[in-house]
Symmetry: C2
């Protein structure tokens, strides 16, 4: 079959708050071919990503993404890899390209899975999907009391692993951070895994991060995530060798395989965290999961949005038995909840299972898309080159 | 003074060809404050970059660039650094941000230089601008005969250093590459510096590059540039240690300081090549020039477009006496030539001097801008959030 259409849908909550919550808007991608449709999601700025899909060519290495997708053949896994490579070759000077590719690549895998009647993970070569331990992923509370309550509530909901991130953490004095850390541990109970996500707050300032290690050790933080900005491998490496020893996690800021490889090889990470909606889709994520396994580093998804994004981010490592943890957003905005009719929820023992239906195994709720849809129109030289398509 | 307006102008040749020539379109940035205006240029997809400037906020780390610029104070060099840091903090999940920041940052330096009556390099802390040896930068010919003629012509025009890149090189069989290399050397004469730019053609395939080393040595290539994709540091490092030894150059694909630092520290480069229009502007480029000097690596500008971009890319290292080479595009499209009334041309001894007038020392030709202007309009939810401003 040939790719007949690639459509982008920009969805948003009525108001978007200035907080570290990426579920407040969404960019969905629908690809049609052979009477079927596949869906993907970019974890990216919707307008900017759409612009990169439709923009006029600047030169041979700065082509719009549509150049490498529309009308192309889609019959085998190799076709998806070919499209991914083609986008890299034709658009490597278009910085936004990897974020836009991500949603396209995910939709292509969904579509091919539907055509072949197989879940995506089987197309990736896995025989079996292993259940994962979901960690309840949420923002720190506004004060320690709120953090305590959020931790307790997640624990009551049956989560054996809980993560707090962003918010005030690392932005005020260390005493405030310690109060949040202790509140988190108290609320989560002593027998749970507790992860802490600094959301790149210390940029590349090793000392600011190092100062928190004792407190992190005291609450038995399972890992410290993103103390530094993407690719600040020197600061990561130094911190990984510091005492007391805390495992480091990072990688969600990577937007291609090459960057993730650098993080795996040079940052001293114990966990590499990949968002299929940013890294270039399932194709790139799978390559990284394989490299991580070879390198003795655990692979974890990064997901803070819908269950479409969750399924996409689970596929690349669901067949790897050793990678037992997965991120599970527990406080997404209503928009992110409403996107899918299918919900991926932990079983009664607290384990998460990937859908076994063809493709990503996720049904999209088209009424939701209509409800949250943001109309866009882009004109170049008086000609409309993009407008929000019909659903 | 306060930043009053930030305007983007998308210029284009009437037709854009599928070749590795980035001078076929341009994105200019004009910033006004205190009755003055500064100009910058992004080496980036115009529509996508503009979209990143005006897009609605997605979350706290994915804000449009305008959030960090409009209405901000601009009185000292520290104010420019503050704006640059602020964009990184507010927009680090907006992938296109660094490309857009580049033109903004350049315009801010131009504006501040005009206000203080100083060329930008003096604001950067340099006492003196050193003349540079410009290398004539051009694409390979379509066949060896054409490459020969282009080399000869550049030599006749007085250039003692000549670079060929992109085009067919590395895309066909090795015999064809050798024929081009030998033609280039023959045309350039035996006493010139001859650089070869592979334009990332071998992606990360070490062996494809290694196979060409003997031929490169034979023609005494001064350096081999960008054999691999941005950040493919392992392949670079291996090639740098291979025999016969050829100096490696790279870095134009980097879009921030952190990436350039990785290339400097891990890729085995002899030359780091930075485009101020991509790296985040003059602020980031200056940081990299300092790091390169400390690391014993030569800094070279990457410039393939207008003399506005050329001046911006020269400022960060013009005060470093040891970095003697600079890239000088000799076949830009008419658009790139027409953008500036000021032309930066080599003196009779073949040396290039940076303009000594305040700011970037470049006068923009406003009639040109009108002539090449591409009208853009972006609507979100029925509201125009961007349209091409008046000049």
């Amino acid at each position: 079959m040939k790719i007949e259409s690639v459509d982008f849908f920009y969805l948003s909550m009525p108001s978007v708050l200035d907080i570290g919550d990426g579920s407040q808007d969404a960019l969905l991608v629908r690809i049609r071919a052979g009477g079927l449709e596949g869906w993907g999601e970019c974890e990216a700025s919707p307008l900017t990503s759409i612009a990169s899909y439709v923009c006029p060519m600047s030169h041979s290495a700065c082509k719009p993404l549509k150049y490498s997708v529309e009308g192309k053949a889609l019959n085998t896994v190799r076709d998806i890899r070919r499209i991914s490579n083609s986008i890299h070759a034709n658009s490597f000077d278009l910085l936004q390209a990897d974020h836009t590719l991500s949603g396209i690549d995910i939709a292509l895998w969904d579509l091919l899975g539907k055509k072949m009647g197989q879940p995506v993970y089987k197309l990736l070569g896995y025989q079996k999907a292993f259940p994962k331990i979901p960690y309840a992923s949420q923002l720190f509370g506004g004060n320690p009391e709120e953090t305590f309550k959020k931790a307790k509530s997640a624990r009551m909901d049956g989560f054996n692993a809980i993560k707090f991130g962003w918010g005030v953490f690392g932005r005020g004095n260390i005493e405030n951070d310690i109060a949040h850390l202790e509140a988190a541990r108290e609320g989560a109970g002593h027998d749970s895994l507790l992860m802490i996500d600094a959301g790149t707050v210390w940029e590349n300032h090793f000392n600011a991060a190092k100062k928190r290690l004792v407190a992190l050790k005291k609450i038995r933080a399972f890992w410290l995530e993103e103390p530094f900005g993407n690719l600040s491998v020197g600061a990561y490496k130094n911190l990984s060798a510091s005492s007391p020893k805390i495992s480091l996690a990072g990688g969600e800021g990577c937007n291609n395989y090459t960057q993730a490889k650098l993080m795996i090889e040079h940052a001293g990470l114990s966990y590499i965290q990949i968002d299929a909606g940013r890294i270039g889709g399932i194709t790139a994520a799978m390559q990284i999961a394989d490299l991580a396994a070879k390198s003795g580093i655990s692979y974890v998804n990064h997901t803070f949005t819908s269950h479409l994004a969750l399924s996409a981010s689970l596929q690349p490592f669901v067949g790897k038995e050793k990678d037992i943890l997965c991120e599970y957003p527990i406080e997404p905005k209503q928009l992110a909840k409403d996107i899918t009719q299918t919900k991926i929820v932990p079983d009664k023992n607290g384990y998460l299972h990937i859908p076994e239906n063809p493709g990503l195994g996720i049904s999209i709720d088209k009424n939701t898309i209509k409800k949250y849809l943001v109309e866009l129109e882009i004109k170049v030289s008086g000609q409309k080159i993009y407008y929000t398509p019909d659903i």
